[in-house]
Structures are given as C-alpha cells and as structure tokens.
Amino acid sequence: MMHATSATVRVRFFARYAELVGRTEAEVSVPLPATVGDVVRRVRADLPGAGALPERPLAAVNLRQSKLDARVEDGDEVAFLPPIAGG
C-alpha cells in the first residue's frame, strides 16, 4: 500500500493578511511529515506578497488555534490569523 508523501492543505487568510497577500485562500503542498511551520514557510516563499506575513503568525488548523510545531495532514485547513481583535 502506498503512503502519501506530501500533504495538500487549504490555506486561508483574513483581514490585514488577506490584503497583504491579495487573496483569501490558496492551496499548497508540503512533503510529509509536515508541521504548520512548514506550511507557513512554503506560503511565504511561494505566494506573491506573502513574504510580508510574519514568520511566526498565529495559526489555526481545522478551526482550532495551533502551535507552529503541530502536525498537518493531507486535506487540512490552515489559517493565518492576524492578532485577534474582536469584541
């Protein structure tokens, strides 16, 4: 049985980060095993404008805040969250 060697994740951008990157979502692939930090590095390197994003942004995986060393799997949704300012 073949094991996946890479993960394709849906990346989402919000608020100021969406303005910086000029889009609200993207899809990137990273070799497995991969972490949120690997996704961040891939996004910052590959997407025009994404170099302006922080190296260590607040992030969420599948609707839950996650640390940058958390694992990501194929099909996950990784969100870049600007500093939260609700209320």
Binding site: F14, L63, G86
Partner: protein
C-alpha cells in the same frame, strides 16, 4: 441562534435566552464601537471574521464557562459588518443563582473572546482613511504611546 449576526444586537433576546426563575442575578455586557478622544474621528468599525471558526470556538468558550459556573446560563452574540460608532458589536448575558457568578461568568466570556475568537476590526475614519486595529486597541502602525 448562531453566535454571529449582521443585524443590530438585541439585549432583550440575549436576556430572554438566559432568564430562569432559578437565577437571581443577570449580568449584561455590551461592547460598543468607540469614538472617544483616543480614537479621534472614528465613524464606524468594519468587523470581519473567520466565521466557521468563530462558531466552533464560541461553542468551546461557552462550554468552558459552563464547566466553571455550572449553574450559570450564558448567551453571547457578535455582530459583524460595518457598525457605526455607538452601536454594539458584542452582547453577553450571564444569569446565575447569585450575582457573583453572573458577573464572573460575564467577565470571563468577554476576556476569552478577546483572546480566542478570530474577529478583526478596521476603523473607518471621518477623514476617509481606514486603519486595522491591533488587539490592544491601538491602530496598527501608530506610535506605541497613542
């Protein structure tokens, strides 16, 4: 009822959701769009959100509050979109058998919202400019003393 709305918030509806003969105290918190001396010319704030996460994170937050104050009844709703100065952006109602728990639960919810709920705000200013606001309430990019 969802945790997010684009309509003006109704205090009556929030209070109705928590009222109970078993509760002797109800605490209501409204967060409103401010245009004070510090803001110097804010006409409105445009609220945006990671809406799918807002819904699930509010569910977790309210569950956390229920674990701490098992007898409290809590309702919360965040308004999104463009909200004029003076209007409410968030409403919280917490009812409990005694006032101390009602105050504590209400305070817990708003403090956790500030920390956990992925909502962002952009000030729309009277001079036509727009400024993203950072979590401490200061516009992004302004000097730290402002």
């Amino acid at each position: 009822m969802t945790y997010v709305t684009r309509q003006p918030l109704s205090i009556d509806q929030l209070v109705a959701r928590v009222s109970s003969p078993a509760c002797g105290g109800t605490c209501v918190f409204l967060g409103t769009v401010r245009n004070g001396p510090e803001e110097d010319g804010v006409s409105a704030i445009e609220y945006s959100a990671y809406e799918e996460m807002v819904e699930v994170e509010f569910g977790r937050l309210v569950a956390d509050a229920a674990a701490r104050w098992p007898d409290a009844r809590i309702a919360v709703q965040h308004r999104l979109g463009t909200i004029p100065a003076g209007d409410a952006s968030i409403g919280i109602a917490a009812a409990a058998p005694h006032r101390a728990e009602a105050f504590e639960a209400c305070r817990f919810v708003i403090e956790e919202v500030k920390r956990r709920i992925p909502v962002w705000k952009k000030e729309l200013r009277l001079d036509g400019t727009e400024v993203w606001v950072d979590p401490s309430g200061r516009p992004t990019g302004k000097p730290s003393h402002v």
